[in-house]
Amino acid sequence: MTEPLQPPAKKNPQLRSPLAFLPPVPRSRAALGLTARAAEGRFALQQCAECGAVQYPPRDACCKCLSTDLPWTDQPPHGELIAETTVRISPDLYFRNQSPWRMGTVRLASGVSVLCHLHGDVRKGPVRLALLLDRAGQGTIMALPEQEVPNMADDPQLRELGTSPKHRRVLITDARAANAPALVRALLDAGAAMVFVGESEGWRRWPGRAALDAMERVEIVPLDVTDSASVREAAGTLGGKTDILINNAVFLRPGGALDRSDTVFAQQELEVNYLGLMRLAQAFGPAMRARGGDGINSAAAWVNILSANALAADPTHAGYSAASAAALSLTQSLRADLRGGGVRVMTVLTGPTDDEWYAEAPPPKLAPRAVARAIVDGLERGLEEVACGDIARDLVERWRQDAKVLERELAEGAGR
């Protein structure tokens, strides 16, 4: 039985804040395939393209037929726990702090044996497997109960492998964004201790402010991602208690690269979507990285909501695609920077949203609630890569298959 997780006690100011240790980081290149699949929440293993044998641990050649063609293939996430132990002594600093740590051997139907983390409610017998990123951001396998059990997510080992908002304090950077109210509600429902929402240009009235302001555990704070001083100011106030930062600030104007003779919108798109992220990263990143080991409400995750056209440009939104690509690139660097503190960086790629800037796009369009749901789900599972909605998922899939083909497809209808 998993005990329900209690809110953290107030910190003793005389004690040094716990350091963020990471579980072992080194991996072979093949094993990074696990990390890549865990980042998207897939349970996939290498499977020989020639003989079909499932491989584990990750290999460079099939252990049955020596084929070197071992594509990552989704596997039934089920197996049987046949041996288990509780590691009480470890020379590794991370596991020394986390001990005792349960792990075991799970036999998959495909015949491979997998050493994995064990959820506290798992016993010998059938288990469900999940491929989850650990605090070092590396893909690891965990055995979970087959069925949902009470307080399942509160299991200490499972929580270590996720970035759940429960009991954590969240900063949403743009209160004016269409998805802000849905995000706030979803985070509160998921148990967030507090949601701070950034408001730019308080001198411009906006609808919905009063409703947001009236919510419990919600606080509107001044924050304009285009203003370095404002971002620094906000970080000075909230930097030490931002456990999860969700950057939903976005600026876009439709239009091809040749539709205007100026860079006004392009600059603004870079200011908000790219430089805004840079400012937030510089102001909030260091404190979050330093608080990655800070107990139940440790700094845990950074979420960037970006257009899926960061991967491949939509020529009818040329500037926005470019700015999104810049932001995606910076997100990758930020991820590397925050990894040292055990802080996850999640990219949420979206398709056309249901708002004035995609008025001409045909449905389906992304509703704010769907974005909010995807983010909370991604946080709870500790994902790094989330494609939100059918359009984004489809685009990511096509990009994976052939980026050049996708570029050509996206060019249809443009340039006339």
Binding site: P24, L34, T85, S99
Partner: protein, 389 residues
Amino acid sequence: MTRMPYDGVVLTAPFTVPYQRYSNDAAHFWAAKGLRGTLDAAGLRPDQIDGFSVASFSLFPDTAVGLTQHLGLGPRWLDHIPMGGASGVVALRRAARAVQAGDADIVACVAADTNQIDSFRKLLTAFSRFAMDASYPYGSGGPNANFALITDYYMSEYGATREDFGHLAVAQRANALRNPNALMKTPLTMQQYLAARPIADPVALFDCVMPCAGAEAFLIMREDEARQRNLPFARIGATIERHNAFAEDPVQLRGGWAVDVDELWQMAGCGPADMDLVQTYDDYPVISVMQFEDLGFCEKGEGPAFLRERDLTVTGDLPHNTSGGQLSAGQAGAAGGFIGLVEAIRQVTGTAGPTQVADAGRALVSGFGMINYDRGVCSAAAVLSGESA
């Protein structure tokens, strides 16, 4: 095809460099000590050997190659055995064939490792690619965790109890008390064994070896050479070696010995019952139990019952790991793959001193090594006999 016997080749000059819990010296230091010890025992100078076989984890970035220049050796035959607990028997197999074929006249086999304060952790971090990718990130228990899983599975499959494993550990401690070089110097009772601090359930403190620095060494030469030099020697009755056996087993319950056990006894011309002593690779008791089973002393799963009825001490009916083994003498890295072999040479040559088994004519030595992922990959065994046996 019938394998060629090891006629005319012998093992001699067994030497153990007393172990130290921690050492600031490099593996090269310990290798030199081991080599000099075995050469001194045979009355040889370094330039009189023409073959050199090395096993070590902590030589990095050097290998046996670097050691030749480091130690001023000029061998015409050189080997490096990266097989951990199987390296003793494997070194023996290779060197014996080289001497037999005339590729070398005298081969010095040396296993040496140092143990600096943090070197065990560093070794675990990058022990093997599979361990790095798929084992160490899961609690970082190292071999303790791997063997905990194997022990757990063995116990649930065959109903073994912790007392069964304690039976081996307690007897080995008794043996170690006879060995002045053993790191463990105090007696161990079953009660103490059972009450020990848990490390990785069901593995507890006295199931685990103590990493240390040390070296083990011996020489291989032609029998006439040994006779000429008046050296007591051991003959090689049979050997086997196997890697990555039973890869399909979900958890390791048997090792490669089970594949080759019939060949071993056939080549040796005797059987388990003929052994005057047994040296198993004992990094955890469960693996010693498996070796008794896989090497034909009893059926699979019957190891605990078989051993329970036997006295495993030096003076018992089945002397086992007579120097105290790794569990009580210490695990000096790759030298842990030599400890049983070197002790067995002493035993069958009647030079074991305080741990000497009376009338020790024949010995079985078994090696097991390299937890590459979830199980030991290398297994090997050899039957030795004394001059008179």
